[in-house]
Symmetry: C2
Subunit: 417 residues, 2 copies
């Protein structure tokens, strides 16, 4: 099946927002085995929207819309499709009851325009909206399938993942669907990983092996088409085993989670606590760990020792390490080690990770931009330090240093390093 994604909204054409919906839907459709041939963005203008539908209908079997289902007169997707198909729109009573109840609950006056969010094109299947008011629409006419989703990502994503996916599977019939496993790697770049797997990537046919790049993360998706999960697992397993055997020091998850989630899970299951001493990353590692719900059971907090004063006062780093012509300085293996040990003692934790380096844009202490030392102190063990030379701009260096710090902790938690 050939699909086209049509995102509706003048704010996209003005560049006020990025079209992340198109990416989300493209990935989701690919996982269902549906090929996306075009993405289109059109403004809140009925004539141009109808033109986009006409063009889309000629070159695709499935048109997936996002946006234009809200309450205002600018929300035109339903009306445009109904006009194009020569159909009426009608009120979906369960959605209308939900909207009325919500306004009654708030004690606010019901605004008439909200009724628009309960409209369905005649013949359409309603798609539940668990995180908002506008009902989704799904219908098939003359061999073309139309799926209408809201624009706000927090409404669009669950609707697509739930009722939207179920409807797509129903129109695809009994054909095999795509099953994928996401493999996540740390401590290695995309090209380094490709070197390890180059023959597998070159010779792939089924399962397919597709790399995904994102700043600071390396992901590979291994996919196959199969009738059910058991058959998929059987087909995927030999490839997965081969990849696992080649990447024992880097493969940290077989699902799409960041390394901070993997680390928090390991700490929690081992009932161990970590603390941090961050200099050049300035709180980024802590901010990553605390994005994970429940991180308070594994992360005791830490010190952002951005100044020598705090390195000394809060972490007990000796001043002779930091100051004076012959001192190793704030960016040194000795300081990284002392920061980690100071944090371990301060927070009474099982692990302490430290980061100190030069994020740029200018060199510091005569040391080059990108030079970073990571320290790992573990209760009852020798403290270890790793030296890195990272490339990129200030934010890139900080992000990669943060991810490498978490990778160092992952190695220790899994007994690998």
């Amino acid at each position: 099946m050939r699909a086209e994604i049509i995102a509706v909204g003048t704010e996209l054409l003005l560049g006020q927002i990025v079209n992340t919906n198109a990416q989300y839907l493209s990935r989701g459709l690919a996982e269902l085995g549906i090929d996306v041939y075009y993405q289109t963005v059109v403004g809140d203008n009925k004539d141009r929207l109808i033109q986009a539908i006409k063009i889309g209908r000629e070159r695709a079997d499935l048109l997936v819309f996002t946006g234009g289902l809200g309450p205002t007169m600018d929300d035109l997707t339903r009306d445009a499709l109904a006009d194009y198909l020569g159909r009426e729109v009608a009120l979906h009573e369960p959605t209308m009851s939900k909207i009325t109840a919500m306004f009654a609950g708030r004690g606010g006056a019901f605004v008439e325009s909200n009724r628009r969010q309960a409209l369905l094109v005649d013949g359409a299947t309603p798609l539940r909206n668990d995180t908002g008011l506008a009902v989704g629409n799904a219908l098939s006419v003359d061999g073309t399938h139309y799926l209408l989703l809201p624009g706000p990502p927090r409404e669009m994503k669950p609707m697509f993942a739930n009722d939207g996916t179920a409807w797509l599977k129903s129109i695809m019939g009994e054909a095999d669907s795509l099953h994928s496993v996401m493999l996540k790697f740390a401590g290695i770049g995309e090209s380094g990983l490709e070197d390890l797997l180059i023959d597998l990537i070159r010779e792939q046919s089924d399962p397919t092996i597709a790399p995904y790049a994102a700043e600071g993360e390396v992901t590979i998706r291994v996919s196959t088409k199969a009738a059910n999960a058991e058959e998929a697992a059987r087909k995927l397993e030999p490839t997965l085993m081969e990849i696992r055997s080649r990447t024992p020091m880097h493969l940290y998850a077989e699902e799409d989670i960041p390394i901070e989630t993997a680390v928090i899970r390991l700490l929690t299951s081992q009932r161990r606590m970590v603390t941090l001493a961050e200099s050049c990353t300035g709180g980024m590692v802590a901010a990553m760990l605390t994005t994970v719900p429940g991180s308070a059971d594994a992360f005791r907090g830490g010190v952002v020792s951005y100044s020598n004063l705090l390195k000394h006062r809060a972490l007990g780093v000796p001043l002779p390490l930091l100051e004076g012509a012959d001192a190793p300085g704030a960016v040194s293996a000795q300081t990284a080690s002392a920061m980690a040990e100071g944090a371990l003692a301060l927070a009474d934790a099982d692990f302490a990770v430290s980061v100190t380096g030069v994020a740029g844009p200018a060199a510091s202490e005569g040391k080059p931009v990108g030079l970073v030392f990571l320290g790992l102190a573990e209760r009852g063990k020798e403290t270890r330090v790793t030296q890195l030379q990272l490339s990129g701009d200030r934010q890139g260096i900080r992000l990669r240093a943060s991810k490498r710090a978490l990778y160092m902790l992952w190695l220790a938690l899994t007994g690998r390093g």
Copy 2:
């Protein structure tokens, strides 16, 4: 002039990357006074690319392409346009010399396919690429203008901003161009700001007033068309003065910078230092401040006191505040105040900002998700505490609490609160 942006690349259709180029170009074209009517994404397929050119030519005067100018056989944009126009492609000698010199400098073998990056459609103006190899193409045929830019943002952006913009101005002739001022607000939501400015927004014609929404930030762009910067300033000033007079507690910048940059600049110019004591934001405020180059001159670092142990040990928060049936608890005005005062003393700073709250997903200490206390300790002054009830998910609450903490500091630094 009506424009369409055509992004070329199968990786976009697979959802491997987000189409940030379309946003960048949409904004850039809007600033030149060019209206974008459609954005299209098409894969690395010559037939479908030619179809997209045909459709684009019918509905736009200017087609701006990104992607497909690289060295591989998948890079088809030039070839597709040449085929569509019935023209040849020819080598652009200066680009070819640059490519050859680069390979000679590296001592690597010249790969023949790199020659493709020096190709121009017959009659096209070459656009300089300062950050890569592929030369850009710009040409006008039968009233339609074609602008071909590379796909990688670090090549596309400078090419568009330099030679691309110059060429667009030349084809637009002597018409006035758009001049804009970005106004940035903190401590107020988008709807709150609209309430303050509603009559201005309703009655706008020239200058125009356009809100931009982004999580945790509120931005307004005030724009007018003018022949030069002086005329633009004269036309914009009355509107800017009116907005300034209505929003003295919220307008923190008249350029597109985040509040962390505004705060670091104020601290630096006042030669004062800040420190932080973060609980629920878990290092996010520190990470924001340290994105700003030069922040080390204004930010001493701080404590991520994610556990009661660190609140007590590192910040000196008294245990009776934290523990026991009748204690106010970690999420309380008293603890926020003690955290800020403890941080101020520890870091010997001029200001200390503290954040403690319930980010969720679950309530904590019997307190509701979204309850946040911010503390502000200032050397020689009474410590102040602000209580917030924020809505949203875990990440949204953490982000808004972080921005509000920086806003509280901005108020103090500007003598407003």
